[in-house]
């Protein structure tokens, strides 16, 4: 090592949240400090406000129609591309988990599952419709079919454990069907999601399809609950938060679904599949006469 290298001060990264395809600080300019497992200061993380959440919802709503209109094949390839991006930078992600206390082999296993899970949902994107939709044999002279449609903007509230696998497991089925997402990353371990945002930005995912916020749950959950433009909530949440989310959801008849998985259960194949996709689609039935 040269003397210069020895004395060099590393350039640290300013963590920013990923909203509408851009990296921004909180509009409030607030941050909260996080430290590594060794207790040393690591970085200031944006402490997003309800206004940031509102901006993220606007971005998600703007991106929604375009994303929903992409062909399922295209959405599938974009999800696959995202898996490629993560696989390529998997060591960095594992490192970010280890830095905040995860055991390396747990982190490595979790990240492999993340990549595999994205591929799982990439494969679903052009198949779920054939299983969830139907042609219905009505008794009258009509052709009647049911198709699914995305619900719109979905709010995802990720668990603390595992922070990244939980987040990806919740976001992937939601966007696979054409929804757009405003996600709140783990409050305890936000940094991996900041890295994920950087990978999303370099994947082919259009800006605004996934928006990743960091901040305090107690500040943001109430806005997730009551923002009427968020059409559905997918949350890993405790009893009190569940109640708050359901209460808020009542005002606009929002769909609310909670992740049952906790801890290691997220690693299992049972934590993925068609059910998760079905939870965030609407069913639309169309009738047309058959004749002349």
């Amino acid at each position: 090592m040269t003397a210069r290298a020895k004395s060099r001060i590393p350039v640290t990264k300013t963590p920013k949240v990923y909203i509408g395809g851009a990296f921004v600080r909180s509009e409030s300019a607030r941050t909260f400090k996080i430290s590594g497992a060794d207790g040393a200061f690591f970085a200031n993380i944006p402490q997003c406000t309800r206004k940031d959440l509102r901006n993220a919802v606007e971005a998600a709503a703007k991106a929604g129609p375009g994303w929903a209109k992409r062909s399922p094949y295209n959405r599938a390839q974009i999800l696959y591309r995202l898996a490629e991006m993560i696989e390529a930078r998997i060591d960095e992600l594992i490192g970010s988990l280890v830095r905040f206390g995860a055991r390396r082999e747990d982190a490595a296993r979790g990240m492999s599952v993340c990549v595999d899970r994205l591929i799982h949902y990439a494969g679903w994107a052009d198949k779920y419709e054939q299983l969830l939709g139907s042609v219905n044999p009505v008794a009258t002279r009509h052709f009647n079919f049911t198709v699914t449609e995305p619900m719109g903007v979905v709010g995802v509230i990720a668990p603390d454990s595992p922070p990244l696998l939980g987040l990806i497991s919740m976001v992937a089925p939601v966007i696979a069907s054409g929804n757009t997402v405003v996600a709140l990353a783990s409050e305890k371990f936000p940094y991996p999601s900041i890295l994920l945002g950087e990978m999303l930005a370099t994947s082919d995912l259009p800006g605004g399809v996934v928006n990743l916020l960091t901040g305090l749950r107690r500040e943001l959950v109430p806005t997730f609950a009551t923002h009427a433009h968020i059409r559905a909530i997918y949350a890993s949440a405790g009893a009190e938060e569940r109640r708050a989310l359901r209460l808020g959801a009542a005002a606009s008849v929002k769909r609310v679904r909670f992740a049952d998985e906790a801890g290691a259960a997220w690693l299992e194949d049972t934590a993925q599949g068609l059910d998760a996709i079905r939870g965030f689609v609407e069913f639309k039935t169309t009738w047309h006469p058959i004749g002349s």
Binding site: L131, L132, S134, N136, P137, V138, A139, T140, H142, N144, T146, E149, R231, R242, R243, A244, R246, L247, A249, A250, A251, S252, V253, R255, F258, G273, L274, D275, E282, F283, K284, T285, T286, W287, H288, P289
Partner: protein, 494 residues
């Protein structure tokens, strides 16, 4: 005589819909076999309410009392849930093919007594006998028959997933299709192996309790289906009961939201089928006469007491005058009056309270400057009636274009472009249904994709089928009823 010698041109010719050939009354005379008093149906038996209290069920066509209906209180709802809980394990363990046989039997027994049920439904709710006879009752039987066949095929309901019943399901249904809504709720729940505590609407409890007689005749095990009657308080007890694994509600958005708040602290599953303000969109290339008929079906079916009623007509400007003029001619020959008359097209408004709501909103429409049209028609002196009503000169901001009226009142708006039609149609917190009328196939598919509604009727309106999933987007609720999709909402992962 019309001016037969007028030279061809833009002469104003009109049609005469008078009384040259007036129809004599044609009352349906089948005996509805009503009892003077209806008790609660709990654990397979009719039991008196613990409180001993009853309320009147009124025939809205003539304001006469039909029967005493039991008022269920906390103890009664507890008893119903307890009976359902006892019945659940053996019922869920009954092989699907055997559960299905009960449902098949119920369908058949209902068909046997179809006319009697139709008359009872019409007397209790005010809907025309033509509709209860040709729609409500046969469709209710069809729902039981359809779901009966699912009971032994549940492994096919959800690909890759084994399903199991949830337990006891609490259900509250509205007064607009009393028997049919009961069938929509009861049949899939039972087919899946759940037990049910159901509350009919307080103004229309009779056919549910008549159906209880059929459940007895069918030998359905006691406790599998329990019917408790009463008003909103009883409904809240049924929805809020800790014994419910799931609740399913059909009714107003306002009450649906209240239930969601009531249950916010629980992990109760829910299906909500709520209000609507559907747009019925007519393009200039539409089959106009059939569109007019669809508009009529859309808003005057069941006096407009239909959550998915096409209560907003969006008509393409080039054909607006023609459509409206044809619509006026069409509603001149609608027959309003005695619901039991086989020729009646619009019967009685379900209740005095609903009539007051309709009047209030119509008055608001007039006050806000919309132009009202009602054909001349003589309404009966007693009973609750409202003539078919059109409003023109309506804008998006009018109350009659935004609020669910739940009556025979159509708000007519116009549009110029496809995008404008889509925007106006979707400009509502509701999203239950929509109608599209055009001869252009690709436009139908585009509209069907863009309209935020759970049911899209293209070149038709207000059609229903047990195999066809029904339910809303946005504030019109969530969950589906009917078809494989609806059945799945009564299951959990095994």
């Amino acid at each position: 005589m019309p001016p037969s010698t007028t030279p061809r041109g833009r002469a104003r010719a009109g049609l005469i819909f008078g009384d040259l050939w007036d129809f004599d009354p044609a009352p349906e005379t089948a005996d509805p076999k009503l009892k003077e008093r209806y008790d609660l149906f709990i654990d397979g038996r009719f039991v008196r309410p613990r409180s001993g209290r009853y309320f009147d069920s009124i025939n809205p066509a003539n304001e006469r009392k039909l029967a005493d209906i039991a008022l269920a209180g906390t103890a009664d709802v507890d008893a119903a849930y307890a009976a359902a809980a006892r019945a659940f394990r053996p019922w869920a363990a009954t092989p699907g093919r055997e559960r299905g046989k009960y449902l098949f039997r119920i369908a058949r027994l209902l068909q046997d007594r179809a006319r009697e049920f139709a008359v009872a439904e019409t007397m209790d709710g005010g809907k025309p006998i033509r509709e209860s006879r040709d729609f409500d009752v046969p469709m209710a039987a069809a729902h039981f028959f359809y779901h009966a066949g699912w009971a032994d095929k549940l492994e096919y309901v959800a690909p890759g997933r084994a399903v199991a019943p949830l337990g006891v399901v609490g259900q509250v249904i509205p007064w607009n299709f009393p028997l049919l809504m009961l069938a929509w709720k009861l049949a899939p729940a039972l087919a899946m192996g759940n037990c049910v505590v159901l509350k009919p609407a307080e103004t229309t409890s009779i056919t549910a309790l008549k159906l209880a007689e059929i459940l007895q005749d069918a030998g359905l095990p006691p406790g599998v289906a329990n019917f408790v009657t009463g008003a909103g308080e009883t409904g809240a007890l049924v929805m809020g009961h800790p014994g419910a694994a799931k609740v399913a509600f059909t009714g107003s958005t306002e009450v649906g939201k209240a239930i969601m708040r009531q249950l916010a602290g629980t992990d109760r599953r829910m299906t909500m089928e709520l209000g609507g303000k559907a747009a019925n969109i007519v393009f200039d290339d539409a089959p106009i006469d059939q569109a007019v008929e669809g508009i009529v079906d859309g808003i005057f079916f069941n006096q407009g007491h239909v959550c998915c009623a096409g209560s907003r007509l969006l008509v393409h400007e080039p054909v607006a005058d023609r459509v409206i003029s044809k619509l006026k001619d069409r509603i001149r020959v609608l027959r309003v009056g005695d619901p039991l008359d086989k020729n009646t097209d619009l019967g009685a408004i379900n209740s005095k309270a609903q009539l007051a709501t309709i009047r209030r909103l119509v008055a608001a429409g007039v006050r806000e400057g919309a132009v009202l049209f009602q054909p001349p028609c003589r309404l009966p002196e007693r009973g609750f009636y409202f003539p078919p009503t059109l409003f023109t000169n309506v804008t998006q901001s009018h109350r009659i274009a935004r609020e669910e009226i739940f009556g025979p009142v159509l708000a007519i708006l116009t549009f110029r472009t496809v995008d404008e039609a889509i925007e106006k149609a979707n400009n509502t917190p509701y999203g239950l249904s929509a109608g599209v009328w055009t001869d252009k196939g690709s436009r139908i598919l585009r509209m069907s994709t863009e309209l935020k509604a759970g049911v899209v009727w293209a070149n038709t309106f207000n059609r229903f089928d047990p195999s066809s999933p029904f339910g809303g987007y946005k504030e019109s609720g969530f969950g589906r009823e009917g078809g494989r999709q609806g059945l799945l909402d009564y299951s959990r992962r095994a």
